[in-house]
Symmetry: C2
Subunit: 221 residues, 2 copies
DNA sequence: GTATGACCTTGACTTATGTCAAAAAACCGG
DNA sequence: CCGGTTTTTTGACATAAGTCAAGGTCATAC
């Protein structure tokens, strides 16, 4: 339970107390953790596995809002605000999580300034992420969003020009706000133009300058 | 300075101290308050007027992220997180604001739990707003977003079937992630079909059921 | 090893929305 | 009330991206 950002700087006694409050839960691949509109009785801290948080359109199109992984929080905003969950959450793989009941959390936030500070930092980070997402959806075309995603992957690792996608292409489409067919076509065009090379989930970035230009709308594929 | 949500429940002595910290600033219509990428030395509390926070695409298209009005915070996330402002902010009309320097704010947040709680509530609310925005941009078409906007306006007031737009149609287009031409055409189609009646900035909602169906994709105009 | 299903690709087609240009309407300061 | 700017509307057109349908690829389980 160590090293969870939310509990950074938490005094030892409160840390101890958490042991009696947090409940371990497990979800199998594809399992629903919560659905949009359901009551937020608490939130989860993901300890193993990954969870996709997503919205569905009337026609069944999926938009992934974010993917929650190791030591990250799931549903914390709703639990804090006392609102129903605004989106669906499914385990993308076998997932272990700690459940933190809303009431206990509220008490802890009020008692421990460090938790409040960590929570604010978390909220601020996610707000930034959503700001970028809105910008991308509204002002960039799909190739631009894709290029931005690859360069982001590239920077996150050391980046040896080869990035490994950690999700399927279908899920990537949903993350970028498009559909698999469109993504497939754009990957092909980028390959044909020598900007990158696709081999399964492995992408070789052959021309990063071109990718940057695509993001900035200076180069149309 | 009373009744600012951020200072709700703030002890009187801290409230007093603020008098010496907050600085009044004034902006004329159209004036830039801050630009994307510039250092966030603090944030603003809007006391009069309105400010649009927006991003610009490479081609100059504008996406309004939100409009900040009376007693709301501008740039607080950046100031808190210590990041540059992620978007532009322009006064939409003559605007008066209180400037809160970052350092003083950080000290206050650490000292006063009520400020931290209010700040978290603020962040949570905005996260919800952005979530809906992403959903709309990605999963709804422009008519759906427009219908949702009108019904939102309708609910915010008592709603006598007539809503008053408080921004220009061009700015509404930018808020909905589209352009004035498209908005104009959709308004015409909706008028022709008897769903609403446009008269300047005054919209008469003649068929709310149809608007709801448009939002849910059950009725295509 | 092969069968089963998930995932991905491709082609032909449709459509929502953007672009460009021009006219019309609304607004504003003097 | 006028002249000029800004906003809004309209039309003709371009295009990015979605839909539908079919086929291909890949992996895993049996």
């Amino acid at each position: 339970m160590m090293n969870i950002p939310l509990f950074l700087n938490l005094p030892a006694d409160s840390m101890k107390m958490l042991q009696g409050i947090l409940m371990e839960k497990e979800f199998s691949k594809g399992e629903t953790i919560f659905s949009e509109g359901s009551e937020a009785a608490g939130f989860y801290i993901i300890m193993k596995g990954r969870v996709k948080v997503y919205k569905l359109s009337a026609e069944g199109k999926e938009q992934i809002l974010h993917i929650v992984g190791h030591r990250e929080l799931l549903g914390a905003v709703s639990a804090f605000a006392g609102n129903p969950y605004p989106a669906h959450a499914d385990a993308m793989e076998k997932t272990k999580a700690l459940f933190f009941p809303r009431n206990d959390f509220m008490a802890l936030v009020r008692k421990e300034p460090s938790v409040a500070m960590n929570m604010m930092a978390n909220l601020a980070m996610r707000l930034q992420h959503f700001t970028r997402m809105i910008e991308d959806l509204s002002l960039k075309e799909v190739p631009g969003r894709l290029a931005a995603y690859f360069l982001y992957l590239c920077e996150r690792k050391g980046c040896s020009d080869i990035v490994e996608m950690d999700i399927s292409k279908g899920q990537l489409a949903s993350l970028l706000g498009t559909i698999p067919e469109t993504l497939s076509r754009i990957l092909r065009r980028l390959s044909e133009q020598g900007v990158l090379e696709v081999s399964g989930r492995s992408i070789r970035l052959k021309n990063k300058k071109a990718l940057k230009d695509i993001i900035n709308g200076e180069y149309k594929i």
